[in-house]
């Protein structure tokens, strides 16, 4: 971790005489002061944005709240784009299908044009100079702090390869954990087990998908908390928008698993105004999966049949996503709209050098209309073990805290599901360590540099996702956040998963 020089903000106390200091510009041309406040406005656009704001104020008075109900907003950080949306909303030039605001929890098609940001190329790499370490203190008890302290001390000993000390400390952790209650105890237990396995070299097998047990765990995780549902929902929303007017659509799911994401999409397509498109699903599975990919496809086909959607399914079984070749997908260029969907799959490829580049190349070559990506919002792939350990300890503490509540089988299984991720993260190395989560900022960089263009997820999806969360007990703690066109779901103020959408179908 970089050392920070601690210095007082020298610009805070100025004694200049001019009342309006010149606006400093940063390399990307954005007004520096507004960037800090979350708005990206080019200094050269400032006057134009001001004019548009004036225009809007002149035609609107206080009674404009009806506009908020009808308009779908995108990426509020792009102020220029936002005011343009409002202006065009006052002056509709094309047939805009408005979402049916009364149909709660339903995915409905919205024309995608507003979702695509303006043509201007925005500079990438203008991230904050330091990395963010998001921290929520959930348990202010004395014992909780001591427990974390012991875990970190043990991890540090492991980092320094002082295994004798680590051995002593991990036993100490075990003792402390047993006197702790709630989420902290469970988290500590898993992290301690991970450390122990690392110390004694009893590595957990990568048996994800080796048996139907893994499938079972995921289903329980799906049922007990909103994370997977949020992932599916937001990704489906983006896909629906991209498919708004398509007659034939093709979804490629990079990790089909139980196919839990697709019933909702199939139903939404069935209800599309103007009738459903022909729906083709290509499900990719690992050669180790429990339930066969084909079976999942078959069940989805039955559902599609019931709701009246023409359905076609193809299964592809691979050892690694890196082995995916474009010709395997049999894209019907020119006659179908293509979506590529990845929920918690891509990070695994970071365990093998070159793999992520292979899959991105493959994706690019089929020129999808939309690519939906959901990943854990954390950097668990740093080079230094101790950093990874610390990051993930805080991440899973928040996650486990969100699961707390009356005991249930779903919850116990969910904790086990997450526990296996912890073990992999802490105990494994090299190609075996597959839980290599990276942050939205990191994924954004990777996609931007790969030539992909962002597709903004808007306020309609945000609102529906928020309402979906209200169904869960402890809903107060879950928060949906919009971040430059992407949606994040978090617990308390800690974002935990991020959904982003991209495209690569036009020559710019």
């Amino acid at each position: 971790m970089k050392r920070e020089h601690s210095h007082r903000e020298t610009s805070a106390v100025k004694t200049g005489s001019s009342s309006m200091t010149a606006n400093k510009e940063e390399a990307g041309g954005f007004d520096e002061l507004l960037v800090v406040l979350g708005y990206k406005v080019r200094s050269s656009d400032m006057a134009d944005v001001a004019n548009k704001l004036e225009q809007l104020e002149m035609v609107l008075d206080d009674g404009i709240s009806h506009l908020s109900d009808d308009t779908v907003h995108y990426n509020p950080s792009d102020l220029s784009g936002w005011v343009d949306t409002l202006l065009s909303d006052l002056n509709p030039t094309c047939d805009q299908v408005k979402p049916d605001q009364d149909s709660e929890y339903e995915l409905s098609a919205i024309p995608g044009s507003a979702a695509y940001p303006r043509g201007k190329r925005t500079r990438t790499g203008s991230d904050s100079p330091t990395t963010t370490r998001s921290m929520v203190v959930l348990d202010s008890q004395e014992t909780g702090v001591r427990l974390v302290h012991a875990l970190l001390a043990c991890a540090e000993a492991v980092q320094q390869n002082n295994l004798k000390l680590a051995d002593v400390l991990v036993k100490h952790v075990g003792l402390l954990a047993s006197s702790q209650a709630g989420a902290m105890r469970k988290v500590a237990t898993y992290f301690a087990e991970g450390l122990a396995r690392r110390i004694y070299r009893i590595y957990p097998r990568d048996d994800v998908g080796l048996s139907s047990f893994s499938d079972t765990l995921q289903i329980h995780f799906y049922e007990s908390c909103p994370y997977l549902k949020f992932a599916h929902f937001t990704a489906n929303q983006a896909i629906l928008e991209a498919f708004a007017t398509a007659e034939k659509v093709h979804v490629i799911d990079l990790g089909l698993n139980q196919g839990l994401q697709w019933p909702a999409l199939i139903q939404a397509l069935a209800l599309r105004p103007g009738g459903p498109p022909d729906f083709r699903l290509t499900g990719i599975g690992s050669s180790l999966t429990g339930q066969s990919v084909q079976e999942v496809g078959w069940k989805l086909g039955q559902l599609a049949n019931v709701v009246g959607v023409n359905f076609e399914f193809k299964s592809i079984v691979l050892n690694s996503l890196s082995d995916l070749k474009p010709e395997m997908l049999e894209i019907r260029t020119g006659s179908e709209s293509v979506a590529v969907n990845s929920v918690f799959e891509l990070h695994r490829l970071l365990a093998h050098p070159g793999s992520i580049d292979n899959i991105l190349l493959t994706i690019k070559s089929i020129k999808p209309d939309i690519i939906t990506v959901v990943e854990q919002e954390a950097n668990h792939n740093g080079a230094v073990f101790l950093d990874r350990f610390t990051e993930s300890l805080h991440y899973y503490s928040s996650l486990f805290d969100s699961l707390e509540g009356p005991p249930s089988q779903d919850r116990v299984m969910s904790e086990l599901y997450l526990g296996r991720q912890i073990l992999n993260l802490v105990a494994c190395e090299g190609e075996d360590r597959v839980e290599r989560h990276e942050t939205l900022v990191q994924w954004r960089n990777r996609f931007s540099m790969g030539g992909f263009k962002p597709v903004n997820i808007g306020s309609y999806a945000y609102k529906q996702a928020s309402m979906l969360l209200a169904l869960y007990a402890g809903a107060d703690g879950y928060k949906v956040e919009e971040n430059e066109g992407c949606l994040l779901l978090g617990w308390q103020t800690r974002p935990l998963i991020a959904t982003s959408a991209w495209r690569f179908n036009r020559v710019e």
């Binding site: 206080d62 370490r133 103020t493």
Partner: protein, 344 residues
């Protein structure tokens, strides 16, 4: 009245830098979209539009932050800001390291938003709190109090009270000199109103509040004052929107004579003889509610309480959000002096 509106827009543009004008006009427009005539509020869209930033335990410009849960029942979160330690960034166990120094002021901050908008993790307030840390060298605790119209009076005050107690009981916030937490209350707009009311509650309780810092505090009353009439709609704010926010915050059926709105009005209780903290009250000369704010400062004086009034003639609302004007620097210096006076 398109003609005079045009004049209004041009006027407001001449008194603030362009990027400030764009920022505040953007808020004004967004807020207009969110308030419904029937008194309800489009909370989903509000949260979607609000620009938020995460806490960051890695120091940035000498300040790091982390979030704490003060009360699980009400889900009361706050963001704690601290000056960076020398050496490595703090680990989890260091976050609550005891404060340095014989006297270590702690500022409990209540963000503005007319009781309805913004959060402790809104970018504008995260930025402001970070500046306060840099300025005063103190810990700042920004309270994410419950907002109207979903949570009316007295929820925000209750949360402020909970926060004050929490801060007061943290061993790691105690000053070495007397083993007590040296607390200042601060806030802008509705936050200033909350600071006042929490200070009132503190008076009888044995919790010492060393000072109140009120930035453009939100007060009102039933009559229309001269400043409200003169400045209505001219500098981003209208009397109509002020009325809407009071209706959203005050208990249903109440009017603006309610003491929460009008602390020196006909229904208020006297502060005379009470050991109320000294106050720094900042009033912007282009804020239409200034008559109420001046009345507040006056009321404190008449009750024999110590108050310093800082009147900034050419300042509009939100001047303290961007460091691109003189008022900003003036106020920051005053706040630093106010807080550090305690350290002598």
């Amino acid at each position: 009245m398109a003609g005079s509106d045009q004049v209004n827009l041009i006027e407001s543009k001449t008194v603030v830098p362009l990027n400030t004008w764009v920022l505040i006009s953007n808020f004004k427009l967004a807020y207009n979209l969110l308030r419904r005539p029937d008194g309800t509020f489009n909370r989903h869209l509000a949260e979607f539009l609000d620009r938020k930033v995460p806490a960051n335990a890695n120091p940035v410009n000498g300040v790091f932050s982390f979030d704490v849960i003060m009360d699980r029942q009400t889900n009361l979160l706050s963001r704690v800001y601290r000056p960076a330690y020398a050496g490595d960034p703090p680990s989890f166990t260091d976050l609550q390291k005891p404060v340095d120094g014989e006297v270590a002021p702690v500022i409990v901050f209540f963000h503005g938003g007319s009781f309805v908008h913004s959060s402790a993790n809104s970018a504008i307030y995260d930025t402001l709190c970070r500046r306060l840390v840099g300025l005063c060298g103190s810990v700042v605790v920004s309270v994410n109090y419950r907002r109207a119209p979903e949570n009316r009076y007295p929820c925000a005050y209750d949360d402020g009270w909970t926060a004050l107690n929490w801060v007061n009981s943290r061993s790691w916030l105690k000053s070495k000199k007397d083993s007590k937490v040296h607390i200042f209350l601060a806030g802008d707009s509705s936050g200033g109103n909350i600071a006042h009311n929490v200070a009132v509650r503190a008076v009888e309780s044995g919790i010492d509040v060393l000072g109140n810092i009120l930035l453009n505090p939100m007060f009102g009353g039933t009559e229309r004052t001269e400043s409200e009439t003169r400045l209505d709609g001219k500098y981003f704010v209208t009397v109509r929107d002020r009325d809407w926010y009071w209706r959203a915050f005050l208990p249903e059926g109440e009017d603006r004579e309610h003491p929460a709105c009008s602390p020196f009005g006909p229904r208020s209780t006297s502060l005379e003889g009470l050991s109320f903290p000294k106050s720094l009250v900042v009033v912007a000369g282009l804020d239409l509610i200034q008559d109420w704010q001046l009345k507040y400062a006056d009321g404190l004086k008449k009750a024999g309480q110590e108050v310093k009034l800082l009147y900034l003639e050419q300042a509009t609302i939100g001047f303290y959000l961007l460091p691109n004007n003189n008022h900003f620097h003036t106020v920051m210096e005053e706040i630093a002096a106010f807080v550090n006076a305690e350290c002598q």
